[in-house]
């Protein structure tokens, strides 16, 4: 099985993890509904390297991962850097 390296728990089977979407800036509390809609639904979805949220389900630990969407290669995983400022992908 594919292995992902959890920053908290070390290398684990990919089935222990769940994908949580792209790391992208959260709109301000008073942002227009359109900005929130864009944040929630619209995706750049380009084949390239994406910065993503992942969770190790058994321990409920959220972290960030850099993954190549063309090859499924996981390039790096690290504890969340907050506030999330990555670009949408």
């Amino acid at each position: 099985m594919k292995i992902m390296n959890c920053p908290l728990n070390g290398p684990r089977n990919i089935s222990e993890f769940a994908y949580g979407g792209d790391v992208r800036p959260i709109p301000a509390d008073d942002a227009e509904p359109k900005a929130w809609a864009d944040y929630l639904y619209m995706k750049s979805n380009q084949p390239g390297i994406a910065v993503e949220w992942w969770i190790h389900v058994p321990t409920s630990y959220w972290f960030m991962a850099e993954r190549d969407l063309r090859t499924d290669e996981i390039l790096a995983t690290y504890p969340p850097k907050l506030p999330a400022t990555g670009t949408a992908s």
Partner: protein, 414 residues
């Protein structure tokens, strides 16, 4: 025939068979309509543009070969028993087109009406099915919730025992559920469109658009640039890549959908069996192979690799339905890149640019919509008015929080 064979054999006076698709030629300087994507949807749109609207100066561009993407990678199931009235009406029209498509195209697409079960393993699933059945019947689509006795009569080999993890409680029965030879659909549309003057350019990769004001005026390709009147994009899997060239962000993620077939077996399964709760479906092809698949992969990827994890999960569930398949070997596996939208409904029609049209977001359910998409997108492009039937699928519905709730009937309901 034997005499003709002898004559041709002796004298060599045989006719070379006619090419189904005309030989490649250089790209023209300009086309009225450029269709990006030579899958079923794009080719069908080209066919209906030429046939229904007399628009024949059309180029279909494909970076690979026609019908080589998701058209060849789906599992060929056709049905109309969706949940929302919009979805049901749309697929009902598609079903009507399917029923006469072999005759209309004079091309055997091997359309086979065999009946379609959606199994219920929970009370909640039964409730959704009653809802679906009532919506379907109201709109004239054959659909019925049936119990175990009736299921056993129609499909006696299905395991209805209560000695499994998720016993079957009932099913939504859709007698008109069908299958068709998916490649033939692309070939049939391509051949008839080409006969009417549509140019099909394979190995032609779109690399960018020339945008002037609110219009696309040119399409750049690896074989040269062309001017265009209108552009229609139908490139499932790569939708976001092409739309980004036009400056359009969409509510779409590209996620692999895997499937597989078994070795050929003597015919035992007449119907199509789908279980949303078990995330699996199975039917037996004309060659005797069992065609099996399930839900999309758990995370996005631009790739068509297969995984063992998926097969193990899928087969564990298939074996609950048909335990006697335990010794059967799997013969082929593959994946396609599916356009997943948040509401499991497509993205169709006009866009932010005046002459740029989109047919996308088809997730795991695009094959069965091929004829209606072709017909209605041709109408949309030719008349520049979004047809009523597809108006709810507009791309910017999300910015108005106006989604369509089709997940209950579409998620694994192939």
């Amino acid at each position: 025939m034997p005499l003709a064979l002898l004559k041709h054999g002796l004298f060599g006076r045989f006719q070379t068979p006619k090419r189904q698709i005309p030989a490649p030629r250089p790209l023209a300087k300009s086309y009225d309509v450029v269709i990006i994507g030579g899958g079923g949807h794009g080719l069908a749109a080209a066919y209906y543009l030429a046939k229904n609207y007399g628009i024949r100066k059309v180029a279909v561009l494909d970076k690979g070969y026609i019908g080589g993407g998701n058209t060849a990678r789906n599992t060929a199931i056709i049905r109309a028993n969706y949940l929302t009235p919009e979805g049901v009406l749309f697929y009902k029209e598609s079903m009507e087109l399917w029923e006469t498509l072999s005759q209309d195209l004079d091309f055997n697409i091997m359309y086979s009406q065999r009946g379609h079960f959606t199994l219920a393993h929970t009370d909640a699933a039964i409730r959704t099915m009653r809802w679906r059945a009532e919506v379907n019947k109201q709109l004239g689509v054959q659909s019925e919730v049936i119990g175990l006795d009736e299921i056993a009569k129609i499909e006696p080999t299905l395991n209805l025992s209560r000695d499994v993890r998720y016993p079957i409680l009932g099913a939504l029965w859709h007698p008109v559920g069908s299958t068709a030879r998916h490649d033939a659909v692309a070939w049939g549309y391509a051949q008839r469109a080409a006969e009417m003057g549509v140019e099909i350019h394979q190995l032609t990769d779109v690399t960018g658009f020339e945008i002037t004001g609110n219009r696309i005026t040119g399409v750049k390709t690896n074989r040269g640039d062309i001017a265009c009147g209108k552009v229609l994009q139908a490139v499932a899997g790569n939708t976001s890549v092409v739309s980004a060239m036009a400056g359009l962000r969409l509510p779409i993620r590209t996620v692999p959908l895997q499937a597989c077939v078994s070795q050929p077996l003597k015919r035992f399964l007449d119907t199509i069996i789908v279980s949303g709760s078990l995330h699996c479906y199975i039917w037996q092809s004309q060659r005797g192979e069992l065609v099996m698949g399930g839900a999309v992969d758990p995370y996005p990827l631009y790739g068509t690799r297969s995984t063992l994890d998926f097969k193990e999960g899928l087969q564990a569930h298939i074996l609950e339905l048909f335990p006697f398949l335990a010794e059967v070997r799997m013969m082929r596996q593959w994946a396609g890149m599916a356009d997943m939208t948040p509401d499991f409904a497509p993205v169709m029609g006009k866009t932010h640019l005046d002459n740029y049209y989109i047919d996308a977001g088809w997730g795991t359910w695009g094959f069965k919509a091929t004829p209606v998409c072709g017909k209605r997108m041709a109408e949309c492009v030719a008349t520049d008015v979004t047809p009523e039937l597809i108006s709810t699928f507009v791309w910017d519905r999300f910015s108005r929080f106006d989604q369509l709730g089709e997940a209950g009937a579409a998620s694994v309901g192939h």
